[in-house]
Symmetry: C2
Subunit: 297 residues, 2 copies
């Protein structure tokens, strides 16, 4: 099977999991429930739950206890996009070629839908406690801790804050790395760590997955900066060079295009080297990482 | 000791707990950390952590495992106020006589600070797992589930959504009760249930605390509607009759002032009757409930 077909199959499975865990749009709070559903279901590569599930399988995990966490991480990712798109933040009317949440449901409902997704992520993940048997309970506790810390102030929100606040200033490489590692890598780290933890990986293995996630996130984000500069408008779904138009210094504007491409390769190799120790048959996770470097959208 | 002095003593203790669990404002994400700290520390009755701790004590709880949950519930309460005050929602420039978060830190930082507080609430509560000994772990799991559900779409956010969406329409009593029970009671229920659960109360006792919390929340909210209509502007810290100016039907406009006052007494008695089964010495929790009915601000 071609990689893209394998990916499509996995996306289908992930979307079934999401559908299972998303709340039914009914009752007096129907609008916010509809906004949550529509935005989560509006597409995307499902990279985060995919990385989580594949890491879980790589470490021998076989149960369904991973599924509420897969849904939870996608809810957290989606809430961050909804709030990021708000007029007071990035003020984006379109994402993935579709109208953003606040354009469709209004700013008030978009704020509430974001809050609701973040909150419901923890409500969803806590359902894993009911699925855990014996020593799995301790694993779910560890997974909950990771899910509660990586998206927060010492992770994604920390990076988002720095990104917003430093906008328009001449960024240093240190600041750019802080933003990328927190805003982007932190969630990817969470995915791979949770996958490993729930499969029963030991502390050292979880640490290695954290390093792997950091590298994948960083390579992914630099690749994003590259695509933003050179990508084709229609293909990528947002105006090319929009970061540059916002006077935003990026990794690429500081390091140059060629060096950035070289860095993506090098950082990705670091991730693939870590995976080699566990993914000896050059399995899906390794090929996914390779795909992420070479993607053109 | 007078009740108000007892209350002051407890507020002092709660604020020490909050201070312990709030993040230090430092690093590239300093602004959001400062906004979180300032807003949580900007005062208030600390009613929610107080109800939680007192319920814990009433059921014989003695450990510190309650403290991360006390901090967490106040963080969740504060995030809801920050987002509620935003221009796209209630658009309030002042709260408790002080400038609101978005006025001081900007709308972008206020959105992020709210997100950060909600997220950090779960990060904080998850620290209780490290403090739990033996069978306490199972109690912390139950407490986490309550903390993840009551503030969410089938609790506080659900009520908030209905409140926002129905604004300007002629509300029915059913809708008003839905809003009050979800927007206000849900968090109070969470407090009393978590206090009971962590102290080792059984399922029936936890259920009774949920009913008690619902009654306290409802009485508190109707009292709020009453105070909004008749209160003294300076004393209450926000313009008198602001709900009415926003063309908002309230419990009081539907039922009339005298009937509403009678209902507050009756609903509060329901709560006090439940407490009597556990709080046989007419302890602090009962007196706190009585105080909440008779408060004038």
């Amino acid at each position: 099977m071609k990689f893209k077909d394998e990916m499509k199959e996995r996306i289908g499975h992930i979307e079934a999991v999401l559908d299972w865990y998303l709340p039914r749009p009914e009752g007096l709070q129907k609008t916010v429930l509809t906004a949550m559903n529509t935005t989560v279901k509006s597409g995307g590569k499902r990279l985060r739950p995919m990385l989580m599930e594949e890491t879980y399988h790589m470490f021998g995990g076989e149960g369904e206890v991973i599924e509420p966490f897969m849904a939870a991480i996608e809810m957290i990712h989606t809430y961050s996009l909804i709030h990021d798109d708000l007029p007071a933040l990035d003020n984006d009317d379109y994402r993935r070629g579709k109208k953003t949440c606040h354009i469709v449901y209004g700013e008030d409902m978009a704020i509430l839908a974001g809050d609701a997704l973040l909150n419901y992520a923890y409500e969803t993940a806590s359902k894993a406690f009911d699925m855990a048997k014996g020593q799995e309970t301790e694993r779910v506790i560890q997974a909950m801790k990771i899910l509660a810390s990586k998206p927060g102030i010492y992770g994604m929100i920390g990076g988002q804050t720095a990104d917003v606040e430093l906008e328009g200033t001449p960024l240093t490489m240190e600041q750019i790395l802080f933003i990328h590692k927190n805003k982007t890598s932190a969630l990817i780290e969470a995915c791979m760590m949770i996958g490993a933890v729930l499969a029963g990986a030991d502390e050292d293995e979880v640490k290695r997955m954290e390093q792997c996630g950091e590298a994948i996130g960083l390579a992914f984000q630099i690749q994003d900066d590259i695509l933003d500069l050179v990508g084709d408008e229609e293909e990528i779904g947002k105006p090319v060079g929009s970061d540059e138009r916002n006077h935003k210094a990026t990794y690429v504007t500081l390091k140059g295009l060629e060096q950035s491409k070289e860095d993506v390769r090098e950082i990705s190799m670091k991730a693939i080297d870590i995976l080699k120790d566990y993914d000896q048959e050059n399995g899906y996770l390794t090929r996914l990482t390779e795909y992420l470097i070479s993607r053109t959208k």
